[in-house]
Symmetry: C2
Subunit: 331 residues, 2 copies
């Protein structure tokens, strides 16, 4: 296996060495450890994700798209903290060293890394069932990091971009619904090429209170903010931002995809009403849509469990079920 793994080293070491002029990397690949320091006065934000064949992607996945997405979903965690990407490590096992596959995968990975100034500083390659483990490092002053536990009563709840396209794409693949060829391509792009909201996260330092990135769907992920902050939320399902493509699917599909779809990698954040104009200005500057979808409220009592109260544009309460939304009724 030695020659095969030399091949792998070559694919990754080649582009790992393009150090940035402003690099905080003191020592990269080739020693027992990499050496990395955050800029003076800042803290390292660290996140790790493991992607497994058959669970997070299929064996026949486009390797360029896999390289893109593997790093993008990690960068999205940095965005959700308001952190600026610095570096990453890549450990992976793969059953065999296929040169064309590795070339495309490493292109997808490094195209993303170079766009965001994120250097490969270490890694490990081994034989085994296909498995990718990436750990990313960003920098942020600790006092302005966007945490999950900082939502306050009266905060607006905001969403970047649009929700639900990735879930809509999965539904088309699974024949749950159909869409035109153009809309299908839009959905597929959302599923395969998520865009981490790094610049938005950095601009939200000092403006937003709490934030996270939406990977498992709004309903579940927003609850993480509520649980960590011990708050409630009310959300207008008709305000959830959606693409023109998604808006052409039936309304119940739209609601289900926007509220309970996954793989969006948009930011969900809370901020005081006094920050509205500044947040809209940031969205304009970055050309990233930002949409208010609801409000944070205090718990009724210390013993109450945090929850999301959903309603439609008319104010009518709705309940979210596994199949989508039902009109609220007491029985």
């Amino acid at each position: 296996m030695l020659s095969e793994f030399s091949l792998i080293d070559r694919f990754f070491a080649r582009r790992a060495s393009r150090a940035r002029a402003d690099s905080t990397v003191a020592l990269g690949i080739g020693d027992d450890c990499a050496l990395l320091a955050p800029p003076a006065g800042e803290t390292l934000a660290i996140s790790t994700d493991m992607l497994v064949e058959g669970r997070h992607f299929f064996a026949d996945v486009d390797p360029y798209a896999l390289g893109h997405k593997a790093l993008a979903v990690n960068l999205s965690d940095l965005a959700a903290m308001g952190a600026q990407p610095q570096a990453f490590t890549l450990a992976f096992s793969l059953p065999r060293a296929d040169e064309a596959w590795l070339a495309a995968f490493s292109d997808g990975l490094f195209d993303m890394a170079e766009r965001f100034g994120c250097e490969l500083i270490g890694g490990d390659t081994t034989g085994g069932p296909l498995n990718l483990c990436i750990t990313v490092f960003g920098s942020v002053p600790a006092q302005v990091a966007l945490r999950r536990d900082a939502a306050k009563p009266g905060d607006d709840i905001w969403i970047s971009g649009t929700l639900g396209d990735a879930r809509a794409g999965l539904g088309v693949q699974r024949n749950e619904w159909t869409a035109s060829a153009a809309d299908t391509a839009t959905f597929r792009r959302a599923l395969e090429r998520p865009e981490p909201r790094i610049a938005l996260g950095v601009e939200l330092r000092g403006l937003a209170h709490a934030a996270l990135d939406l990977s498992d769907g709004l309903a579940g992920d927003l609850l993480h903010i509520l649980e960590r902050s011990q708050m409630n939320a009310t959300v207008d399902v008709d305000a959830l931002p959606r693409s023109a493509a998604l808006a052409r699917l039936p309304r119940d599909v739209q609601l289900r995809c926007t509220a309970a779809g996954g793989d969006d990698y948009e930011l969900c954040f809370t901020a005081p009403a006094t920050a509205r104009a500044a947040i809209e200005k940031v969205g304009d500057k970055l050309a990233v849509p930002v949409t208010r979808i609801g409000t944070i409220g205090a718990l009724e009592s210390a013993a109450a469990a945090p929850a999301i109260a959903w309603h439609d544009a008319s104010g009518t309460p709705l309940t979210l079920t596994l199949q989508g939304f039902d009109h609220f009724h007491a029985d």
Copy 2:
């Protein structure tokens, strides 16, 4: 799978929260990222390793020993940089959530983590073939980090502890040779419970020039120092430190296990002759044997490839083959 993975979260989150009083962890498990800063004036040393079932361990491995070793081999990389452990992340995939297995594995992992003051700050768990990916973080002032590229002509080459017991244990398992029950237990312990040389690494700051940890065997690993430093080495195979148990095996087995065995996780380091007394004093203080095995030399020319010249106690040159050492001959 939700309930199974809640179970896992419980096993690991439980002990992750035991923050140390002197912690540099600003934010641990439960947010999009952990926040970690090295102490003022220091740099983070970072290393990542992936362990795969069937390649790095067998399916029937003692889960406590696996937890111990998975973290120990990563801590050993910190030791080799002279770094003090701070924190680690753990990502793993496993086919099913077996409560007894997870309890033993997490005990092995956290017993090691707590001994070395290394906090779990983040992770990811998913279904899939058994795969463990650990990333460790230590701190060290960048200017005294023990790098591979810093060996100088005339440096002594030193080894901590003893070499070859892990390889001897593998040989007993494979029926390549036999040993008494007591010696077999010694070898097995070396194979399953490597001890990272953290305290020694920290004490070697400012004393040693170059260092690495021995994971693939002295012959291959020392070559990494030589290649990064562009140096040669001469090594006395009879000086290689070995346990009393290994010294009871045939001499050719001893030489093969000490020079080309793997999984030792001892430090190999180089230091000027002026540091001898200080290094021996460190060894005495820590009760860790330190042994001089050879000398670093300059390359004959800039075009020459770095190499190790092996000899025995009488000064007779030897060549290392796949089967062990042969007396040197020209044909």
